[in-house]
Subunit: 178 residues, 2 copies
Amino acid sequence: MNLMDEGIVIVYTGNGKGKTTAALGLVLRSIGYGFRVVMIQFIKGEWHYGELISSEKLKPEFEMIAAGKGFVGIIDDDHDFNEHVRAAKQALKIAKKKIESGLYDIVILDEINYAIKLKLILVEEVIDLIKNRKKTSVVLTGNYAHSQIIENADLVTEMKSIKHPYKKGIKAKKGIDF
Amino acid sequence: MNLMDEGIVIVYTGNGKGKTTAALGLVLRSIGYGFRVVMIQFIKGEWHYGELISSEKLKPEFEMIAAGKGFVGIIDDDHDFNEHVRAAKQALKIAKKKIESGLYDIVILDEINYAIKLKLILVEEVIDLIKNRKKTSVVLTGNYAHSQIIENADLVTEMKSIKHPYKKGIKAKKGIDF
């Protein structure tokens, strides 16, 4: 089996900056060829709106769907956890539809690794999803990529934080982080 | 000193995929805010033309300058090494001009870390460059980032290859790699 005849599976994981950013870079690169790309957010941070503005310029090749709701706190989250589960499940449903449609060259599942880690969705559901990809390449971002995801991926890069300005008390920067 | 009043220095290094790609993601994200961004290639690979096509869509906010020439082989390179030195020096000159102009929000120096490693340019010249950045953020990509570069950076991410399809004999994929 030659993997080039089907979509490949790419994982960007790790604790460093650049995971979603690299996925956005794939968008920029691939739409140059007229590829159709959709990015689905599984866990929406509050500072992801920069991409939404840019993506308008890249229509109709690039679509962005923010299905996740709010940001899931690790320990003391005041929001309703079930609401996050519902949002992630909805994102998964959309992802399934997009991948099965065969209309997209690349489907990006943003922060899906973290959604699995938080048990918002099951890893088995995601494995099923990527196994049914056919010619669509699938990109999975987010820290804590599950071992089964890595096993089923073709390309895995760990973004490792070597130095992080926000540890020094510097806030996230517009245009860089969001 | 608050780093937010001046441009920050970002480094994407490591042996994994996603360094230049993440820089392109910053382009996509930042032009959404009307930021002006320029990307200067210090070592041009043969498969980097995808970005050039896409960048047309993102004009005039995004500019792309390919000053590097060819690909530098590590051991047995038939090309003239001096020609690569000349190209990298030219890229550095352009970078200096762009950063000093104060017209850009982000200047991306693509593969500059590798150009330093290959001794095409001196690390001291690059340190001077980033020290004069004022409000311009500078992004340096390429493996083997010099310790002095890391020392002078605010944000450093190592892209570490965990799994790479090309080790299995699969060729680079259009829209993903180039």
